[in-house]
Symmetry: C2
Subunit: 555 residues, 2 copies
């Protein structure tokens, strides 16, 4: 950062705006940088073969020595999932509440990073000095306990980041949001508010998790056979609702799925999930109980092809098969993009004889506030400037409109893209340039080694397959020693296309002969000729465009 | 069909149950077969590179001489789209109403089939004898005019197929459904009802298209700049609403997109769409008008990457760019699976400066009846047996429950899969075996030449790419003459992975040497060794599993 910025406050996102996922926000002043969250995102459908996506942290790597800490607002993957990758590249202490820290530590352990990273426990009275910044926190409601918003006092004024939130006036375990503290922060004056835009398109209020609890109990009372509940592993309030329903209706709970088990273990250990020991049983015990005494808690609420629930539905799960009389409750809604997978799993469950509870039966509510709640937050904070975050572009835009309606002047609302810097100087804000920001794709062990060229090739290969032409030519004369051979994958049924392949080989021969006549030894020109001729021929014959790969061996 | 079936009535689906799309139903008695509809379906996301999907008509091809006709209920692609393919393989006259026939004829013309196919125009008083069957028709409401249900009197009793329907009591152009005739059919006694299940999961009633008309006019009055309306090309009522709104607000309409233009041309010619000549202008004329005088009607309501609207949003359309002040109205909802594409297009439109009207603003209603309407149909028809059709499995199931609630005994409800035969004999129905049924995939010019192996390869290729190992070996000695060379596509960035590739080549060399020592000239064993060694090595190094293709050339 150049000298001239030393006395300016900079705020930008490395991930989380213009998208849902990989949240990472940066607040910077002079020599001090504070990071809020470091999340992952699941790949878009055009990111073929990619496992997860994390933010590009080039800027942070280049400014390592100025990073004072990473504050984490809550324990969901889109806020903590990139930590193992980020902490391999930069050194910074982590600040988080108890449950959040527990979930982060489990991640760091798996990545062999636990002992290298300093972790600081925060609670609602914490006041943390990081360079020129003073950080305090306020409790919020969200679909995981111990979620907080962050208030950062900077030399330019106060910045508030809400984290993910809703206002739940009847929360699970009486974990009320700290509205009083929010009001106090607002009364003292907020320069800039960064607020969760996930549900900015939804009118009204988001319902209370307590209502879901009642709906789940109702389903438990109705079910005659076994009950299988699918939900997000990280929705601990929902899991508490399931445990409570099981206790109330005298069922035992067996947990299926490594990730859910791990989250339940951590949350119980830390006191965020109440389940007496006798409630939880393992699968083997379950098989010895009558059906009406059993509840199975499972991952797979998104219809993921390899999840426990999907495998149960297809009868390919090692331990649990769906049997007629089972009730399967989807206590989650499909994330956009997963609708078809979820529908397919529901269909398979029905076919297997289960009664499936899904859709609008009250067994799910969002963890994010709707328009009235977003306006309440704006009313509490009364910010001078507003930056909607955590949302796709149209959500940010709707949130901006809500802010305008509550009195923020439209010129004070910044709809930013990842990397856009909002610069604050002497009480005035403006867009001030860009830092590098983008996707880093993770495929297997590779971090960032799959980029646009590789993805473009995967896309091409997935559409019409590949056709490989191999020929061995004499180094001296250029005459054909062996081949040409043609091998294809993902193009046509080879057995039914012999004629086509024969003609293609003939065409390659003709091309080779022609090139020999003009005495070219330039293999790359020769390859281009072969590729062009074959491409034209195959498109005419099939209207397909497989990738064509001519390989010339010299002997 | 064997002798014993000669005096039984058979009903089955070749497409349309357990799925949305490729509707094709068959009614058969003795020597007579009648087909209802011949639709296409768009590929599922795992059908990589596939353009469209049509039903497997093996059974029809094997029983060609018994086919008496194809009745088409309405002109949507999922009911007429497979006709050009089907009519290349079987010969049968087509029976359809005026608009439906118009749309079919446009398709047949394109496929050079128009003069080979006999077409018979039907209207609401038509009574058609096809072998032992007598067919009559009843008008329904749907999102395209001239939709009908079919009543087939058979020696075993009356079969009714509803086609796609809703009950719209205030339809566009006063095209009321023929409820009186439906009641009459029901009073006379219905053996089996086949009814549209698309919205069987939705409680209540589907709203009237007339309400959409009012909502669209409201948006037209509000808009200050140009208006762009995206809808389904085939939703002629919706297009009428747009034309009416343009007339009322003094705008001209320019149509963008070949398919929409063609549908509008046919519907206007046949009198199903009212638009005075002065209303419609071309794009060049549009550019000469002030923004508030312009409405653009466009395809692309599903966010299809190559559609006109998506290209406009990305500024890659040849004739129309989105400009700030434009209002874009999505007068359609995303088809399940398209949600993300649509959201992305909306985001791009917002970014380009447009005001976008989407989601719950009343500018779209479904063309299919909700639960109360489905129950009304059941009450009108009072069938003895019920076969829910046109829906995914859970929709059929919900529809079955509705039928049960209206009084059809649960044992008389058949939830069938494509190919399942429901057999009627002396007033009793039972499941009676199967005919071949499935997907035929169309990729370019190929019909059915892409199957599971090709798709599996495309899937593999799309995940981690391909790695090709080529080596030329001496025919006599088996020693290496040239290579091994390794070429990869869609696997890793080659430039950043030189070391990995060098190690891989070393590994192939070692494997070759080892095999030479044991004097094997069995290339297929050698290939297996290379593949296994490389696969293990690459997985250890990258956690990826590219397709590995060893090629051995002999010289």
């Amino acid at each position: 950062m150049s000298k001239q910025n030393e006395h300016k406050l900079l705020i930008f996102a490395l991930g989380g705006v213009g998208e849902i996922g990989k949240n990472m926000y940066v607040v910077e002043y002079g020599d001090d940088i504070v990071i809020i969250d470091a999340g992952l995102k699941y790949p878009e459908e055009d990111m073929l073969g990619i496992d997860i996506v994390i933010p590009d942290i080039t800027y942070l790597e280049e400014n390592k020595e100025r990073i004072r800490g990473i504050v984490v607002t809550h324990g969901h993957e889109d806020h903590i999932g990139a930590l193992p990758y980020v902490l391999k590249r930069i050194k910074a202490p982590i600040f988080a509440t108890k449950l959040t820290l527990g979930l982060i530590e489990s991640k760091l352990k798996e990545a062999n990073l636990l002992h290298q990273v300093k972790r600081v426990l925060i609670h609602k009275k914490s006041k943390i000095k990081l360079g020129c910044f003073t950080l305090t926190f306020f409790k919020t409601n969200h679909s995981i306990p111990d979620s907080v918003g962050v208030c950062i006092d900077t030399p330019e004024g106060r910045v508030v980041h809400t984290g993910d939130f809703k206002f739940d006036y009847t929360p699970i375990n009486d974990e009320h949001a700290d509205i009083g503290r929010m009001a106090e922060i607002g009364e003292q004056g907020v320069l800039a508010l960064l607020s969760d835009s996930t549900n900015a398109e939804r009118p009204g209020y988001t319902r209370s998790e307590k209502e879901v609890g009642r709906a789940i109990v109702d389903q438990f009372f109705k079910a005659k056979g076994r009950i299988i509940v699918a939900t997000f592993a990280s929705n601990i309030h929902r899991i508490q609702n399931v445990f409570d329903a099981a206790l109330e209706t005298n069922r035992k709970v067996a947990i299926v799925g490594r990730h859910v088990s791990e989250v339940v273990r951590i949350a119980r250990e830390l006191g965020y999930l109440y389940a007496p020991d006798h409630l939880l049983i393992d699968i083997d015990e379950m098989n010895r109980l009558p059906a009406h005494k059993v509840c199975i808690l499972s991952a797979g609420s998104q219809g993921e092809p390899i999840s426990a629930l999907t495998r149960m539905a297809k009868s390919s799960h090692k331990q649990v098969d769906i049997i007629p009389g089972d009730t399967v409750i989807f206590a989650a809604t499909p994330i956009p993009g997963n609708e078809k997978l979820v529908s397919r799993t529901i269909d398979q469950l029905f076919r297997a004889g289960a009664h499936v509870v899904y859709g609008l039966e009250g067994v799910h509510v969002s963890g994010h506030g709707s328009q009235e709640e977003l306006k309440l937050m704006l009313n509490l904070m009364k910010p001078k400037y507003f930056i909607p975050i955590h949302g796709e572009y149209r959500m940010l835009r709707q949130h901006g409109k809500l802010a305008e309606a509550t009195g923020v002047p439209s010129g004070n609302i910044f709809l930013i893209e990842n990397g856009d810097i909002v610069e604050f100087h002497k009480g005035k804000a403006r867009l001030g340039g860009k830092v590098p920001a983008g996707h880093v794709l993770i495929d297997g062990l590779g971090v960032g080694d799959v980029g646009n060229i590789v993805l473009r090739d995967r896309k091409l290969l997935s559409q019409d397959g590949i056709l490989i032409v191999v020929v061995t030519l004499s180094k001296e004369t250029g005459s054909v020693i062996s081949g040409p051979d043609i091998i294809s994958r993902g193009f046509v049924y080879v057995r039914e296309s012999e004629e086509l392949m024969d003609e293609a080989i003939q065409l390659v021969m003709t091309t080779l002969e022609h090139c020999q006549n003009v005495q070219t030894h330039d293999w790359s020109t020769l390859k281009t000729h072969i590729r062009d001729a074959l491409s034209r021929f195959l498109y005419e014959q099939t209207r397909r465009r497989p990738m064509i790969l001519p390989i010339i061996m010299e002997a």
